[in-house]
């Protein structure tokens, strides 16, 4: 007879009730977590004269995509510190505040509403990944707040939000870029392994379409549940399909676990991997390199990324701004990776654009300064090109028209406030440094679209 620890003679109700209570309580933890995570400050959104302006980083700080929020915060802290050193915006100092969405659209809306209700001097919102963009952008737009978003969702290509700005490409273009990389490298059989979050799922259909147009074969298509702890069956299915390459974006611990299992099930040999630009991040590199080995990752990994400056007049102030945050915030991985991480580069540009727009508009009210973002980003004929906030302020004081060109390159906003750059191919060195190994031409992307 088996040993019994507890009498269970009380019938079905207590057992069922206890289980249901546990289930409900466990399921409720995510929602409670979101409520518990955002900080608060005195109410009101209008800054007092000379008061501090707040840049809110509305992004996942917990959950599977928890690395994204801190990445954006590195950019925010670096950019605002540089702006403050140059005298601030119209006498106001800038500060950054993280607001946690948990990467969940349901948690993101109350987090955004709480942000508006409790943030003093809120002047700009950054972050907003594909995880939460669809639910929070309408809220932000209704509150007439400028947002520089990191979402790649294609719906923002064709829906106009007056206060929405984006310096990153739509996900479908990134999908084409990944297939273009596979073409360049001579791969024919493609496996897809994307996370089940909104931000990752948007890559799949464009990728499948581009695979067909490129005359390649879709060997496998596995969705990775970001809340699961192992992916052996998914890895086994992919290994059994013998793909030439795996296209992936699954953040948190998922890619690290999944790719280590692929390596194990493939006889210790890694299948080449092409990642999205989100995989160019110190956190992603640190976790995946630890799981599969840094030399393995260095030899078999490519990612698409927007072309970013690695030298020149805009790079130096950007470099100084980002590296000034080393040891203060962000990842404990290779900090220099932030210099090419899309979230760091393009949000730095977004904050500078907004700060210069406020300066030229002589107002910190988004309704007043928003139109100046496009003017300063795209420039007007005869405008002086400036490469930093300090240069821009100096030129504006001299009464000159300016065009800001940051480390993300020149901007060209369309009617939906999207500005898409051109793509490059990145790899990692064994130490985690990002290297540029090639470029993707617009013609290559057009052929796959």
């Amino acid at each position: 007879m088996l040993t019994t620890l507890r009498r269970t003679n009380s019938g079905r109700r207590p057992v069922l009730a206890a289980f249901i209570a546990a289930g409900v309580a466990t399921a409720g933890s995510a929602g409670l977590a979101a409520c518990a995570s955002s900080s608060s400050s005195p109410a009101g959104t209008s800054p007092a004269s000379g008061g501090t302006l707040t840049v809110a980083d509305l992004a996942p700080f917990s959950g599977p995509d928890a690395a994204l929020g801190p990445t954006y915060l590195v950019s925010c802290d670096g950019a605002t510190q540089t702006i403050n050193q140059a005298g601030g915006v119209l006498g106001h100092k800038l500060t950054c505040k993280g607001v946690d969405t948990r990467g969940d659209p349901a948690d993101a809306v109350p987090a955004a509403r709480q942000m508006f209700a409790t943030t003093s001097g809120l002047a700009l919102v950054i972050g907003v990944t594909s995880d939460e963009a669809a639910s929070v952008v309408p809220v932000i737009n209704a509150d007439k707040m400028v947002v520089f978003a990191m979402t790649g969702q294609s719906e923002f290509d064709s829906v106009h939000f007056q206060y929405f700005y984006r310096l990153v490409p739509p996900d479908l273009e990134e999908s084409y870029a990944m297939i273009a990389i596979a073409q360049q490298l001579g791969y024919k059989k493609i496996a897809l392994a994307f996370g089940n979050d909104i931000g990752s799922q948007t890559f799949i259909q464009p990728a499948i379409s581009a695979i067909g147009k490129a005359g390649m074969t879709l060997a496998a298509n596995e969705t990775l549940d970001l809340s699961a702890s192992t992916f052996r069956t998914e890895a086994q299915k992919i290994v059994a399909a013998h793909p030439d390459v795996i296209l992936t974006e699954a953040l948190g611990p998922t890619d690290a676990t999944f790719l280590s299992e692929v390596k194990q099930l493939n006889g210790g040999k890694m299948i080449p991997v092409i990642g999205t630009s989100a995989t160019i991040s110190p956190d992603w590199y640190k976790s995946v390199a630890a799981a599969v080995g840094a030399p393995v990752l260095a030899s078999g990994f490519h990612a698409d990324n927007l072309v970013t400056e690695t030298s020149g007049p805009s790079y130096t102030p950007f470099y100084n701004a980002i590296m000034s945050q080393r040891g203060k915030t962000g990842s404990t991985g290779n900090f220099a990776t932030y210099l090419t991480a899309p979230g760091a580069v393009h949000l730095y540009d977004g904050i500078n654009l907004a700060a210069l727009a406020m300066t030229e508009a002589k107002s910190t009210s988004p309704a007043v300064y928003a139109p100046y973002i496009e003017k300063i980003g795209d420039g007007t004929p005869g405008a002086e090109v400036v490469y930093s906030f300090a240069q821009g302020v100096a030129a504006l004081k001299q009464g000159k028209a300016i065009r800001y060109e940051g480390p993300g390159g020149p901007t060209s906003f369309d009617s939906y406030h999207d500005s898409t750059g051109i793509f490059q191919i990145d790899t990692y060195s064994p130490s985690g440094a990002v290297q540029v190994s090639g470029n993707i031409t617009p013609a290559q992307l057009r052929a796959l679209s």
């Binding site: 009498r7 969705t223 992916f231």
Partner: protein, 288 residues
């Protein structure tokens, strides 16, 4: 066939990890009457203790011992500092469930505040891979299976043949009667928290080893699987938890071979719901 064998292997490993966690969970629930939802959070906190030891240059297996000690100490502290005061005030069981949920968030976010959103891996070799048909397991996975069997045997020996185990069973069955028979139930409760905490620490470490990479939230879904295994076997039933772990582990991994793997955890709950409908007390509960 190859995929089936591969899934069977994966299921055995998952069951092994789940069994260690589920037995610790159900043992503590049986003796203390607390449905401790913070168990998963303590698992991951302990896994990070093992990581710290591992990063200091020690073997991850040594780290696992440190995790077991930390899990034991943390669980005793959780009971002494949080749950016992509520129980003394006569709080309802559902109140303690909510308190434990709160502790889950506090521990999980506390860990995340310290380690950040970055995911980490232990520095260790997986060892050679053994292949037989479609079945593929690494040496480390064999160690995990062996460890799980050893833990199950240890728990069996403890409950069946030792004075402590008999006292735990008596306390679980009827605390007042056990106290009247001379059993120091308060001490038994504390020892049970320590033992289940140690199992929790071991489970957290083997989960992290098995996953290859882990972060502060890695046990969120795993806790739900633990609950499924525990309630499938019958709450408070050590052997039920073992059986539940095997069923849940195998069902999730084998079903993943034939349906979309994202839904594999749904399969576990379908089995659980069917079981609860047929045998409300769980697999082994009716025997009592």
């Amino acid at each position: 066939m190859n995929l089936f064998l591969a899934s069977l292997g994966f299921g055995i490993v998952t069951a092994a990890v789940l069994a260690i966690a589920a037995v610790g969970f159900t043992m503590q629930f049986a003796v203390t009457d607390v449905l401790n939802l913070a168990y998963g959070a303590v698992m991951i906190a302990a896994a990070f203790i093992a990581y710290a030891v591992n990063q200091a240059g020690a073997s991850v297996w040594l780290g696992m011992l440190a995790a077991a000690a930390a899990g034991a100490a943390g669980s005793v502290a959780l009971n002494t500092g949080i749950y016992t005061p509520f129980q003394r005030r006569g709080s309802a069981p559902i109140t303690l469930v909510i308190v434990s949920l709160g502790m889950t968030l506090i521990i999980e976010f506390g860990v995340q505040a310290i380690v950040g959103g970055t995911n980490v891996s232990y520095t260790m070799s997986q060892g050679p891979t053994v292949r037989a048909g479609g079945l593929e397991l690494t040496a480390v996975q064999f160690v995990i299976i062996g460890l799980s069997i050893a833990v199950m045997a240890g728990v069996h020996g403890l409950l069946r043949y030792t004075k402590l185990g008999k006292a735990m069973r008596a306390t679980a069955a009827n605390r007042s009667l056990a106290r009247n028979c001379g059993i120091r139930t308060a001490r038994i409760v504390t020892v049970t928290w320590a033992l289940s905490g140690a199992l929790c620490g071991i489970a957290g470490t083997v989960l992290a080893i098995n996953d290859g990479s882990f972060g502060a939230t890695s046990a969120d879904l795993f806790l739900v699987l633990i609950l499924a295994a525990v309630f499938l076997g019958g709450p408070g039933q050590a052997y039920g938890a073992m059986a539940g772990a095997v069923i849940i582990g195998l069902a999730t991994e084998i079903s993943a071979a034939y349906i979309t793997p994202s839904y594999k955890d749904v399969v576990a709950f379908v089995i659980l719901l069917v079981m609860l409908a047929i045998r409300p007390a769980g697999l082994l509960g009716a025997r009592a």
